[in-house]
Symmetry: C2
Subunit: 327 residues, 2 copies
């Protein structure tokens, strides 16, 4: 990485943590914050939503394409989206970070700043309440998010029923286009990243590149959908088709998309936008954050304009990771 200055190996665990803590966002639900064996978080309605995700250098991000700030932003945003996809409101995060000893303290501080700005922008009142710092040959983040449902029933994947309207809030396909642009312009055939080309990609395609590196999932739309009576919901992390198939399977129905209202193939198969995909009763008032893109139908799997759509879509870290390709 390009930053200079002291490394976390020079400074040690305790001093690095002391520099990170003031940068992190605070949770409005904190009863006891970082620094003890546990944090304690208030959960007024007596149910807590919990989700965890790993972000690993290589399959999930590359240093050079992503800054530390980008890595922190995305790690935060993707976990917030999982809480929102239950109809919940994110309240707190704990973050494990492992990195090589020669990682600069500055890089780690930038990760913390990314967490701060993503939480502040996407889920105000959600904060980082604890974590762990260790050493590994690559950079890895392990983020766990907690959320509250505050009186609404959690929205699962299994409640869709025939005749429901299928709607989406947020972007579809932009993050994949951003990744394609970055690989086309900035990654050579050996997997090396050209920093100048990354800057040019940002300048030429800021919407697509930021969708990939600093996604802005519509976190508030999750609770709005739950209050509007959503029957099933998830966030589109692995691509619309693959994730819709998960709702279809869990609910024992088919989902039939209207291609004209979705757009192009990238929107059907590209992942990482973390849009909210929700099903609503046909007589529900669809919240303004959502646009209708299909219907729940009898059968199984995913249809497009009534025709079975069999392309796998989506992403498996073992099958699909390549150092030199965005495919």
């Amino acid at each position: 990485m390009s930053e200079t200055g002291p490394t976390i190996g020079d400074v040690g665990e305790g001093a690095t943590l002391a520099r990170i803590f003031p940068l992190l966002p605070e949770s409005r639900r904190t009863v006891l914050g970082p620094g003890d064996d546990c944090a304690i978080i208030a959960v007024p309605d007596g149910r807590v939503a919990v989700t965890t995700d790993l972000l690993i250098e290589g399959p999930d991000f590359r240093i050079g394409l992503s800054t530390g700030y980008d890595v922190g932003w995305k790690a935060c945003a993707t976990n917030l989206a999982d809480i929102a996809a239950m109809g919940g409101t994110p309240t707190s995060l704990v973050v494990g970070l492992a990195a090589p000893a020669d990682t600069t303290v500055r890089f780690v501080e930038d990760i913390a700043r990314g967490f701060h700005d993503a939480a502040t922008a996407l889920a105000p009142g959600c904060g980082v309440v604890g974590g762990d710092l260790s050493t590994a040959p690559i950079v890895m983040l392990a983020v766990t998010a907690l959320g509250e449902c505050d009186g609404v029933e959690p929205v699962t994947r299994s409640g869709a029923s025939i005749g429901n309207v299928v709607a989406v809030a947020g972007q579809l396909g932009l993050a994949k286009r951003g990744l394609d642009i970055l690989f086309d312009r900035a990654v050579d055939s050996d997997g090396n990243v050209d920093p100048a080309a990354v800057a040019e990609a940002w300048a030429a395609h800021p919407i697509e590149v930021s969708a990939q590196l600093r996604p802005e999932p519509p976190i508030g739309a999750g609770r709005v959908a739950a209050l509007a009576g959503a029957t099933a919901m998830m966030d589109v992390s692995d691509g619309l088709v693959l994730d819709a198939r998960r709702i279809a399977t869990a609910s024992g129905v088919a989902i039939d998309f209207d291609l004209a209202s979705i757009g192009d193939i990238d929107a059907l198969t590209g992942g990482e936008d973390h849009a909210m995909l929700a099903c609503f009763p046909v007589n529900a008032t669809i919240p303004s954050e959502f646009r209708v893109i299909g219907r729940v139908a009898p059968g199984e799997g995913v249809l497009v304009d009534g025709v079975v759509f069999d392309a796998r879509g989506g992403w498996d870290p073992f099958a699909d990771y390549s150092a030199t390709s965005s495919q």
Copy 2:
């Protein structure tokens, strides 16, 4: 690793998860279990304790010294201990696992079995409610534990006051002796592990080796201490002296240990036993799980028999990790 059979790269993420789920322990507080964007956990008293830890191949365990079962057991036990150290009862865990694609499915199943058996033995009713699986050049576990306080106030590090009795539940120094035995017998000067020598170490020193590889922290003692009026508590993960210094600093006092009641130097400085270290009012009835090992005194830091103890003790992953030494 020595196991043969299909690898997680052969089988893929979904099929590996399908094989793991039935092996995992179930939580008695589950409202919604694994398989959705989040799990939902009941928190009857409206406060949840949360802690997270990374376990990384290299600094935290070595494959060959530890089996997959051992890795899962220890990852579970150490996180349970952090909940117990607040006076809480562990209710649920989420687990991120990253491993090379050539890791056998069997190894991952063994990790799950280790989680199952540790949770069942140490904190019945606590289960794994979610997780993530990805690929990395080494094996890494990221565990987050949730717990409930069920009517007792969480016990922090900062409440010790002068005159309090200092007591400990669980082992001190055994885990460090186990690590020394394993390195002496089974790790050569290049850091290579001899499996036959590991088996001999288990046979010759089962108490010490199991304390290192399959620690059994006294999880129930945490809540017992809280109910008995403990003023401060933590689990001894980085060594008695280093961790006692954390209580002393947070509470603005000194902690004076009685060497005769502690034993030897390994008990003062060896880490990873995850004993519960607690302070009690002088007129409290000390629970039977605890033995008195010192007093809270005026001043700062740690004393032994009234004399300032300055040896650092404890462990920093950046400063202290060596591939060939247990020191």
